[in-house]
Symmetry: C2
């Protein structure tokens, strides 16, 4: 038994018991500098006997590295962030890094507090899904002060930081093209589309058509609308503004009522494209409530591949984002920066996978 107060054992105690200086004990335990075999042994034994556990705080204070990366997610509860976080945590753990987690709920104020907290705790790097893609002075400041940042899911324009995003525009465009190819001419889209800083949605549509928008620092849902518009233009099909359902907020109730309204119309669309996981779940709810059959009454392609889409009666064709891979990529980028890599900004744009299942068919009116 002897000593079992594993509590406040310092390197000095270990050194004393081993009969060496604290410096020597530090060297063997920290694995730096030279030490003789005998002393190595003595110190190790002493440390084990005393139940010594290094204090990372003290180490970090002097080395200036905490081996901790901060993560600001939107909402950890969502499968989207949960999977990304999984990827981050895996890579971090493999390198002996810890993950300090906060969520912003997509609220700027909360993001501010979170970043502040993380920086005070001296994280070595920050992975963040930024709320505000235009301003974000706090992120510019953090980057300027030397904290490496990797953006995920979206990019704040002008921020000197790496990013990992999905080709949302391409994915949406491909899916909508799929529906168009099947013969659909009235394709509804349900998307969040909370805010676009440069005007209303009509302006957005006009500017996409005229080709004067750079999708890079758009929010994902806007990029997906972009893809929707692009596919229509490529097929030389006019946009029916009424088929674009802008929920305006990331809420189930708002999404539900908007979707119900769209699908209850006399001239309802023959196909539906949902722009994210929440919209997909809500749309599915609405579809079963209205007793619509997929794909005979309505074709459907969903952004985000949720588990139920594969085992529903006809499987739902869905765009699968490589979420854990995104997290892994982000973690690898941040670790590289922490490791001192100082090349150009890296902007990794990952590709989706279109899971083709049974929710798309020829539109009803053409089937006769």
């Amino acid at each position: 038994m002897a000593d079992k107060r594993a509590d406040k054992m310092t390197i000095a105690d270990v050194a004393l018991r081993a009969g060496v200086s604290t410096a020597t004990a530090g060297r063997v335990l920290g694995g730096y500098g030279y030490t003789s075999k005998e002393n190595k042994e003595k110190v190790r034994l002493s440390a084990k006997a005393l139940g010594y556990r290094p204090n990372a705080l003290a180490r970090s204070l002097i080395t200036g590295k905490t081996k901790t990366i901060g993560v600001v997610a939107g909402d950890i509860q969502s499968p989207f962030y949960a999977s990304i976080l999984r990827g981050i945590a895996d890579v971090a753990r493999a390198q002996g890094f810890g993950v300090l987690l906060t969520n912003s709920d997509e609220l700027l104020e909360r993001e501010l507090e979170a970043v502040q907290l993380l920086l005070e705790k001296q994280i070595d790097g920050l992975i963040i899904a930024p709320c505000d893609t235009s301003g974000s002075r706090h992120l510019h400041a953090a980057a300027a002060s030397g904290c490496p940042i990797v953006q995920i899911d979206r990019r704040v324009s002008g921020l000197p930081a790496d990013s990992v995003t999905l080709d949302n525009r391409g994915a949406a465009s491909e899916s909508v093209a799929q529906l168009l190819k099947a013969g659909h001419r009235r394709i509804g889209i349900v998307a969040e589309l909370e805010r676009w800083e440069f005007g209303d949605i009509e302006t957005f549509i006009d500017r996409v058509i005229e080709g004067s928008i750079d999708p890079a620092s758009l929010f994902p849902s806007w990029q997906r609308l972009f893809g929707y518009l692009e596919a229509h233009r490529a097929a030389a099909i006019c946009i029916d503004r009424s088929l674009i359902v802008r929920v305006g907020t990331y809420s189930v109730t708002a999404a539900r009522s908007a979707t119900m309204e769209l699908l209850s119309r006399a001239n309802r669309p023959t196909a539906l494209f949902t722009a994210d996981g929440l919209m997909s779940a809500v749309a599915m709810d609405a579809i079963t409530s209205l007793n619509l059959q997929i794909p005979s009454d309505l074709s459907l392609i969903c952004f985000d591949d949720l588990d139920w889409m594969s085992f529903l009666k006809p499987g739902i064709t869905a765009i699968a984002q490589p979420l854990t891979e995104m997290g892994e990529a982000a973690a690898r980028l941040i670790l590289a920066r922490i490791g001192g890599e100082d090349g150009e900004e890296q902007h990794q744009v990952l590709k989706h996978r279109l899971a083709l299942r049974g929710s798309v068919s020829v539109p009803q009116d053409e089937m006769v």
Copy 2:
């Protein structure tokens, strides 16, 4: 402009610029001790001008508190842990605490490493879903060394630490009773049931029947089997051992083949009880693959309420765990302990909610 190197600003720099001692500056910024109004003002101004950000590491080193709680989850990616984590993070944030996250993948070795990492980083408290409910010397050691621990989802026997769990036995028992009441006599159960330290599953069944098992530090899936058995005994119905499908590992493929086998039998059960979210999803997949209709061909009650269960054609009756509440409760407990509360061990057992939907009916053979 002036100074924008928000990087290495220490309290000494602030003090120098304000024309006071570091002690006074510390008092103003740290909010302890006495300071005159004038100095307060001067220091605040100086800090703001220099973009001073306190170094939590240095503070923690001396105060002995990091305002950080460590979390060891099984798999953050699962909706189960994601929701719990959400609850934890919310409560922690509200109190200015950070959350240091790791996952164990239910592997003891990984849990060991995780706990080690967290303790080295000097977390103030630990919330953990322990892998091993019997041994766990590392947790005993951590508790002994003064680190408060809150266990979640399950309890290691004899560990002096609070816990937050669900009444798994009660929930399972109630659900199975529901099926029995509807007239089912052949009720299948699909559960993970990876390990039970005291013997094989037959022994377990026998010992439950004879009433010689304390369910407190059983793994949830075993507690749920316990409830299944209990409900049968209460209804004086014999257990058919062949209806108890032990998957043995938390894997989709194993679960799928086991479930397919069960549902393909000539004398397949008339009702099914799935013991967790993964089993539920897999079972649903199997059911649709086999083209069985719910509830006419098979009644179903699932443990864990997943989003698709509410909007499927007939809704699936499910046991909803109050997950975020569990996380919140755990966080509150740990914060209380960190705050110095030293009463008796607290073991909070939360209640489930049975979401009654359309997946249960009278068994087919009695319907005539």
